[in-house]
């Protein structure tokens, strides 16, 4: 038995025989031709067959996956008939007396490199559509008879280098139980499709094609990111049990989607999601998120060559607020600098970027950037339940200064006759130990805290989280961290303020019982962690967890805390 690791792209377990999906060799050679009309007729015939195929795929996608997923094939059909593509190909065949496949390949390559060189990530990805259409026509031109995944008629696991949009659309859910690919990441096209089809998948295995052959028995473990080749009967039995358990659990999670997060002793906590773009909101709602606990606005500033305008930002904030339909949305103001660079700001390199000129420190210096963002946020505030959060606050002075700038901008907007909400909560990230220690003073002035554990841990332990050699010091369960978290929560509650957490720790199965016991009000995590967390919390008692947390605070090491939590989970 072989065990190949990759990236868990779509949850679940699948067990079936391997179907190797290998794309043929599409390299084409330049040939001189004698009969231009025959060559053009050959091209037209290949285009016609491709068109018929695409129409069939589009129809099937429409039936099985809905209109949105079928749209991609509507655009493929347009590319196939695009005069900007076909006219130059025919002209080259006629003018240079060359073969259709070479002329097509050359013209298509120009469009592929055009897309690849575009600024927008979205348009760069359109190169894949162009390649997909070109290969389809080349199949017919080169007379390649490639067994398409649409022809699969028994239960299989598809193994491939990567899956193109038309490959995934042709996968028949009745027979394709899972897939594994050599390349790709969690956000690659094939991974996204796998999740929407709910087919277990592992991507980025690097060499699954080299390790397995047609007909081998395969287990795809989309939970832990493993692919097993020719497992023993014992292992198969083990995975069948894991599969049943997961399927039962998923059915249970589904039922919790529209339920509140309430402990057995009737304490409600809020489960929120961390997002980076307005598109992420769909996933938040699908997973039963009660709020957005952290909207990272950095993505608006990245991947472009100038600062985003006030209107671009306003539209993004408005979209998130509207889609959340009145549920709270905590927007973190720009957290850039240090390791997250913006080339167009031309900031000097620093020796200690994590301790340097970043986030609110940069914003309070570059007020032009800060004011633009605040105006966009204030204008968007009337479209939902906006909460604004300043990152990397180390002193009360910084908070007061940031708040004053926000109030100035609000006054200006009101004077301009622009509506601004009067109920915007203002809070801070607690990620610097000085702020955690002085939380009682901050709590008098802020509306809420959100504990950013990734940075709080690295600053408290003095361990760079990018440095693997000190990775052992990244200890969320260290009693020192738990005590800081407790100080922050207690300080806030004494002033009647709420406390959230938006670091990795908030969605962590081991941390959740402790955080619940410490009195955390809001847990913000990746959207896919929400339902498992809700399932876990609804089985816990806050009173019991308070006892557990009290014991954990008196432990000596992180290992002891983990053991303690595991003792109640067993």
């Amino acid at each position: 038995m072989l065990n190949v690791s990759g990236i868990a792209a779509s949850a679940g377990i699948a067990i079936a025989k391997a179907f190797i999906l290998e794309h043929p060799d599409y390299s084409v050679e330049k040939r001189q031709i004698n009969d231009v009309d025959a060559e053009i007729a050959k091209l037209d015939s290949a285009l016609g067959k491709s068109q018929a195929e695409l129409e069939a795929i589009k129809e099937r996608t429409l039936q099985e996956l809905g209109e949105k997923k079928a749209e991609i094939f509507a655009s493929h059909l347009l590319i196939l008939n695009d005069p900007e593509l076909i006219d130059p190909v025919k002209a080259r065949i006629a003018d240079d007396m060359i073969n259709a496949e070479f002329a097509l390949n050359e013209t298509a390559s120009q469009f592929i490199s055009m897309f690849e060189n575009m600024k927008s990530a979205y348009l760069q990805e359109r190169a894949a559509d162009m390649r997909d259409v070109t290969k389809r026509v080349l199949n017919h031109l080169l007379g390649i008879d490639f067994m398409s995944p649409a022809e699969i008629n028994e239960e299989v696991i598809v193994l491939a280098e990567d899956l193109t949009p038309s490959d995934t659309a042709q996968l028949n859910r009745q027979f394709v139980k899972g897939f594994a690919t050599n390349i790709g990441g969690r956000t690659s096209h094939s991974a996204i499709m796998a999740r929407s089809l709910e087919i277990p998948a592992v991507v980025g295995t690097k060499d699954i094609l080299a390790q397995a052959k047609q007909g081998d028995m395969i287990i795809v473990d989309g939970l832990d990111g493993h692919v097993l080749v020719n497992p023993t009967d014992e292992v198969i039995a083990e995975y069948r049990a894991k599969q049943e358990q997961y399927d039962a659990q998923r059915a249970e999670w589904r039922k919790l989607r529209d339920e509140p997060t309430v402990t057995v002793d009737n304490v409600h906590v809020e489960l929120a999601a961390n997002i980076g773009t307005p598109n992420d909101v769909t996933g938040v709602l699908e997973n039963g998120g009660e709020a957005v606990g952290l909207y990272r606005t950095e993505f608006l500033y990245m991947g472009r060559d100038k600062l985003p305008s006030e209107d671009i930002q306003y539209n993004a904030y408005k979209a998130v607020l509207e889609k959340m339909e009145g549920k709270p949305v905590v927007v973190r103001t720009l957290d850039i600098g240090g390791d997250k660079e913006l080339p167009y700001l031309d900031l000097p390199k620093e020796m200690n970027p994590f301790l340097g000129f970043r986030a609110v420190r940069l914003c309070l210096d570059r007020l032009d950037i800060f004011r633009t963002q605040l105006r966009a946020l204030l204008r968007a505030s009337v479209h939902g339940n906006l909460r604004v959060m300043f990152p990397m606050i180390a002193t009360l002075g910084e908070f007061r200064e940031a708040k004053a700038v926000l109030l100035e901008e609000k006054e200006k907007l009101v004077a301009e006759g622009i509506a601004v909400s009067d109920s915007i909560q203002l809070g801070i990230m607690v990620e610097i130990p000085s702020t955690a220690v002085l939380a009682d003073q901050f709590a008098k002035e802020v509306d809420f805290f959100s504990i950013g554990t990734n940075d709080l841990i690295q600053y408290t332990m003095a361990a760079d989280r990018m440095n693997e050699r000190v990775a052992y010091l990244y200890q969320p369960y260290n009693p020192a961290i738990l005590r800081l978290v407790k100080m922050v929560i207690d300080a806030a509650h004494r002033e009647g303020k709420w406390v959230g957490m938006c670091g990795e720790m908030a969605g962590d199965e081991t941390a959740i019982p402790l955080l619940l016991g410490l009195g955390l009000d809001e847990f913000s995590m990746s959207a896919t962690s929400i339902l498992p967390a809700r399932s876990q919390i609804t089985k816990l008692s806050r009173t019991d967890m308070q006892e557990l947390a009290a014991k954990a605070l008196d432990m000596q090491t992180a290992e002891q805390v983990v053991e303690l939590v595991q003792s109640i989970q067993a």
């Binding site: 749209e71 991609i72 509507a74 655009s75 347009l78 590319i79 695009d82 005069p83 900007e84 593509l85 469009f111 055009m114 897309f115 575009m118 600024k119 927008s120 979205y122 348009l123 359109r126 559509d129 162009m130 773009t277 307005p278 472009r304 305008s309 209107d311 671009i312 539209n315 993004a316 979209a319």
Partner: protein, 91 residues
């Protein structure tokens, strides 16, 4: 005839609305439709042409229609721009 729009969609002009624009332009056989942005003019009958403009949120685009039924065609294209949430009319 022409109409200018400001792109409001956060993804710029992406494949779905571009498909709708080209399909609409193709319905009006007697008219030639063009899109002009960032100093580049392309036929609206080519999706590759429209995507090659590389339009992003905040950019402006002019849609130009000439020939038979141009008023009707321009109105139909304007409807696509606005209804697809792609852009707003730039006054």
């Amino acid at each position: 005839m022409q109409q200018t729009f400001r792109i409001t969609d956060e993804d710029g002009i992406h494949a779905r609305p571009a498909t709708a624009l080209v399909n609409t332009a193709n319905k009006f056989k007697g008219a030639e439709s063009f899109a002009e942005a960032n100093g580049k003019k392309v036929t609206l009958k080519s999706i590759l042409g429209v995507l090659s403009l590389g339009l992003e949120q905040g950019d402006t685009i002019s849609i130009i229609v000439e020939g038979e039924g141009e008023a009707e065609a321009l109105q139909a294209l304007t409807d696509v721009m606005v209804n697809e949430g792609l852009g707003e009319i730039n006054a």
